[in-house]
C-alpha cells in the first residue's frame, strides 16, 4: 500500500500522487520554511518552529557573493539534514536539470525546489515535473509563470523575490502582481477566459480554475528577501499562505530568536501589537543589499 509508485504507473495513480503532493503543501501552510546549511542550523530551525527546512550548501547571499556556477547540494549533506530533523526536508535543483531532480528523489527528499537561485541548467525548458513522484515547488513573478509551472507539475508555488538580498521589494512586487491578476481573472466573463489563457500562455483549464476559485490551484508561499517579522507579516497580509526565509535568519545576529519571532509573526500576522513585541530586541538584521544595486537578477531566470 505504501510502496513508491513510478512515473510509469497508471494515470489514476499518477493523479493520486499529485493530489498527495499538493496535500503536503497544504500541511505547510501558515508556516515558515528556512534555508539551512548544516545539521546544527537545521535543528535550530526546527526548535524555532520551522515547518520545513531547505537544505543548501550555501545560503543565497553567499551564492550571490561567491558567483560562479551554483548546483544541487551534496546528497550526503542533505541526508545529514534528514537525520537531524523530523520536519520535511526540501532541496534545490537547477532549473531544467531533471537528473539533479532524479537524484533528489532517489534520496527520498520531501520537496524539490526547481530554483532560480541556482544557475539554470536549461535556458528553455523547465523540468517535466509530472514525471516525478516527489513534489516540486517553483518560483513565479506573476500569474502566467505560476500557472505554467503548475501545468508542468508543480505542487506548490512561491514568489521569486530577489533571493539573498534581504530586500523584500521584489517579493512584494511579485505577490501583488499575482494577486491582482488572480482578482482580474476572477472577475472576468466566461467568454473572456479564452483570451486570458492565450495572453497568459497557459491552458484554459487552469485559467478557469482561477476564475471559479479566486486562487491558484496549489498553495502559494512568499520567498525572497524576507528578513524580519514585519516582512513576513507583510507577505501574509498580501495573500501569501506561508513564507520561505533564506539568508535572513542565519545571516543575522541572533538566528534562533529571529527565526522564532518570524514563525510567530506568520501565525499572528494581523496583530500589530504582537508584531511590535516580536520585533523587539532581535539583534542585528541581515545587512542586505538593495535589489537595484545588484547586477544579477535571479528572478529573471526561468519564466
Amino acid at each position: 500500500m505504501t510502496q513508491v509508485q513510478s512515473a510509469d504507473d497508471t494515470p489514476t495513480q499518477h493523479a493520486n500522487r499529485y493530489e498527495l503532493n499538493k496535500n503536503l503543501a497544504q500541511m505547510l501552510k501558515g508556516g515558515v520554511i528556512m534555508d539551512v546549511t548544516t545539521p546544527e542550523q537545521a535543528r535550530i530551525a526546527e526548535d524555532a518552529g520551522a515547518c520545513a527546512v531547505m537544505a543548501l550548501e550555501r545560503i543565497p547571499a553567499d551564492i550571490r557573493a561567491a558567483g560562479g556556477v551554483s548546483r544541487m547540494s551534496d546528497p550526503k549533506m542533505i541526508k545529514g539534514m534528514q537525520e537531524a530533523v523530523s520536519i520535511p526536508v526540501m532541496a534545490k535543483c537547477r532549473i531544467g536539470h531533471f537528473v539533479e531532480a532524479q537524484i533528489l528523489q532517489a534520496i527520498d527528499i520531501d520537496f524539490i525546489d526547481e530554483s532560480e537561485v541556482l544557475s539554470p541548467a536549461d535556458d528553455t525548458y523547465h523540468i517535466d515535473k509530472t514525471r516525478f513522484d516527489v513534489p516540486f515547488v517553483c518560483g513565479a513573478r506573476n500569474l502566467g509563470e505560476a500557472l505554467r509551472r503548475i501545468q508542468e507539475g508543480a505542487a506548490m508555488i512561491r514568489t521569486k523575490g530577489e533571493p539573498g538580498t534581504g530586500d523584500v521589494v521584489q517579493a512584494v512586487t511579485h505577490m501583488r502582481a499575482m494577486q491582482s491578476e488572480i482578482r482580474r481573472v476572477a472577475g472576468m466573463a466566461q467568454d473572456e477566459l479564452y483570451e486570458a489563457a492565450k495572453q497568459l500562455e497557459v491552458p484554459y483549464g487552469l485559467v478557469k480554475y482561477v476564475h471559479d476559485n479566486g486562487k491558484l490551484p496549489v498553495v502559494n508561499f512568499a520567498a525572497g528577501g524576507v528578513a524580519t517579522p514585519a516582512d513576513a507579516a507583510l507577505m501574509m497580509q498580501l495573500g501569501a499562505e506561508g513564507v520561505f526565509v533564506g539568508s535572513g535568519i542565519f545571516k543575522s545576529g541572533n538566528p534562533a530568536k529571529r527565526a522564532a519571532a518570524i514563525v510567530k509573526a506568520v501565525t499572528n500576522y494581523t496583530d500589530a501589537k504582537m508584531l511590535a513585541e516580536l520585533s523587539e530586541d532581535l539583534g542585528e538584521a541581515m545587512v542586505g543589499i538593495n535589489a537595484q544595486e545588484i547586477e544579477l537578477l535571479m528572478a529573471e531566470r526561468g519564466v
Binding site: G30, V134, V266
Partner: protein
C-alpha cells in the same frame, strides 16, 4: 454550535471550509484571548506537530487547552493533532497536550514518498476515503480507547471519551463522514 479550530499552522482553513459546508459555525484560535469566546468543540488540524506544539507553548495555550479537554470539551486531532493529543510518542521525546492514552509513531510511513490514500471502514461506516500525508499511526492504545479505524492492521483512528483522533485527513476531500461523527460527539456533549 460553535467549533474552535486551532489555527497556529497547517491545514486549518480546510476544516473551516468543511464545517461551513455542513452549516456549522467555526472560529480560529491563534492566541490566548481567542479562547475567551464560547466554544462547543475544538479541532486540532494537520500540519507540523513540532510547530503547533511550540506555538501553543509560546502563546500560553497548552495549559488552558489541556484543562478544557480534561473538563470534557470534545476535541478532534487530525494527523499532527493526533500527535499533540498522544500521551506518548514512540520515536520522539517531545509530547504536547498528552491527554489521550495512546502511543503514537511520528512519520510512521516515512517521508513524502510514503504518503498514500486508501479507503476503509470508520466507526463501522464502510468505504470512507482516507488520505495519509507523512502520517503517524497509533502503535498502542490504552484500555479506555476505542479503535475506530485501521489500515493495514495499524490503528489510524480512535476515540477516548471526548477525544477523537485520526491519522488521516478527512478535511482534504469531499467526504463528510468523520466531520459528521465529530459533530455528533459535540451535539451529545452539548445536550448533557
Amino acid at each position: 454550535m460553535r467549533i474552535a479550530i486551532l489555527a497556529l499552522q497547517g491545514a486549518f482553513a480546510e476544516h473551516e471550509k468543511t464545517l461551513s459546508r455542513l452549516g456549522v459555525e467555526s472560529f480560529e484560535i491563534r492566541q490566548l484571548r481567542d479562547l475567551d469566546r464560547p466554544l462547543d468543540g475544538l479541532i486540532i488540524p494537520g500540519g507540523e506537530s513540532t510547530v503547533q506544539g511550540k506555538l501553543m507553548d509560546d502563546l500560553g495555550l497548552t495549559e488552558p487547552v489541556r484543562r478544557l479537554i480534561e473538563s470534557g470539551l470534545p476535541v478532534w486531532g487530525t494527523c499532527a493533532g493526533l500527535l499533540l493529543l498522544a500521551r506518548r510518542i514512540a520515536n520522539d521525546v517531545r509530547t504536547h497536550l498528552a491527554t489521550m492514552d495512546v502511543t503514537a509513531v511520528r512519520n510512521a510511513y516515512g517521508r513524502q514518498l510514503g504518503s498514500f490514500s486508501t479507503r476503509g471502514s470508520f466507526a463501522g461506516i464502510p468505504d470512507v476515503p482516507m488520505t495519509f500525508i507523512r502520517a503517524p499511526y497509533i502503535a498502542q492504545a490504552g484500555a479506555g480507547v476505542r479503535v475506530l479505524a485501521t489500515a493495514d492492521d495499524r490503528i489510524v483512528a480512535a476515540r477516548e471519551a471526548n477525544q477523537l483522533v485520526t491519522a488521516f485527513h478527512p478535511e482534504l476531500g469531499d467526504d463528510l463522514t468523520v466531520h459528521r461523527y465529530f459533530l455528533d460527539m459535540v451535539c451529545k456533549q452539548v445536550a448533557r
